[in-house]
Symmetry: C2
Subunit: 248 residues, 2 copies
Amino acid sequence: MMSDNTSTTGSCDAYNPRDYPAVAVTVDIVVFTIVNAELKVLLIQRGEPPFLGRWALPGGFIHPNEDLDTAARRELAEETGIHQAPGHLEQFGSYGSPERDPRMRVVTIGYWAIVPDLASPAAGTDAIHAELVAVSEIEGGRVRLAFDHETILADALDTARSRLESTTLAAAFCGPEFTISDLRRVYEAVWNTKLDAGNFQRKVTRSNGFIKPVNQRTSSGDRGGRPASLWTSGDAERLTPPLNMPNE
Amino acid sequence: MMSDNTSTTGSCDAYNPRDYPAVAVTVDIVVFTIVNAELKVLLIQRGEPPFLGRWALPGGFIHPNEDLDTAARRELAEETGIHQAPGHLEQFGSYGSPERDPRMRVVTIGYWAIVPDLASPAAGTDAIHAELVAVSEIEGGRVRLAFDHETILADALDTARSRLESTTLAAAFCGPEFTISDLRRVYEAVWNTKLDAGNFQRKVTRSNGFIKPVNQRTSSGDRGGRPASLWTSGDAERLTPPLNMPNE
DNA sequence: CCAAAAGTGTTTCCTTTACACCCATGC
DNA sequence: GCATGGGTGTAAAGGAAACACTTTTGG
């Protein structure tokens, strides 16, 4: 058994690997994107037990000489076939219940990513069956996930939703140029609400460093309407004042 | 080497422990408390290399059959001698750079805790040299920490500071009964600012479920002054509207 | 009396919200 | 013309910030 003062970081004795169980460390990645004004998450259908056939988050083991962010970036590319750099990639929590994987002790670090509207068909469906699933299907309980991935996804959603309030990350869901309505539809999809278009317009244009004008206009959509101005991401990362999610 | 589809959670082959390096998983705990209106963090002085004599965060390995929260709670008790339950204990990030511990690969899960004003002398100084160090000493660079613990502490501070804005956690720094000025001094210590006493009073008493009256008064302090009413924590966890940190 | 801390009132400013209304396009 | 979406104006309501003022204690 270990004594009270055995630790790598506090006062400690030498570490002997045989004293400790094999712990595997993985990263699991919650990739969000928006398709047709609906928030989707990228999932992989499992090919063997446990949870054969169930949907699961992409992820995998960390390699010997990479840090956690690098592992997340690598797994995102390898497991999903998305080779474009994500618009955002960030840690949000760790999961280490002894029962979370029946095969062995696995501690996983949860990451969430934003990938701008990838052309509808889920990216590299080479060998792996990856698909974009509507978040509402999972929150509504109509699609079930493997392991504790429903908990992990719920935490990622909480994080993403609150990060949109105080950061400029919403723009990462859009392409390099976008209209203010595009941006508003990002908020509406992630928060699952409707926002007042006029107030949103003012709020976003007055916010310092959120978006910059490109001095171009879109052509009108199929059903008419005034052409919108195009904008691009500004330099700010924080949104001051914040854009608050409606209360209920 | 591992193949692209090796994973515990995506589509995967069987896991073979020999394919992976020994990874140790630890929890490191940032314990905050307030002494004399100053924010302090509990540190342990290291007894052997590396970083002999330097201050470090308490922490240690996770055990085979406990989850991460349990490990954090256990290490808090074992390493610091604090046997009272913390007022709050929460994860805030993970750290896994391959170079972060020169002896071996260690991934650590960062936790931050609030312990209400423990009688000034640092708790159980049985075998271990644990002390409360002013956060300002570390942020000012006058006290240096071992490993990447300065980064970890900085992240814990960011988390704690922003959590006070939108949650009722500030009350966890106080004892079971406290005055509104006590509570204000928590905000002032954590945010390192001065707040208007009158506005704070109103804000906190009008906020729903933050604090409840106890219908008692303190005796005046040594230097006179009107006796304050006593309050206790309410049922709410979230603060609506939030109490925003002054801009600069 | 004065100093000190608790607590209330008041005024000013700014943000948010709701919604009316004008603008520029396709059909 | 009409429908549709882009964008501005405006007025009411509410919170935040600054600060004057009252209350209750010790000395």
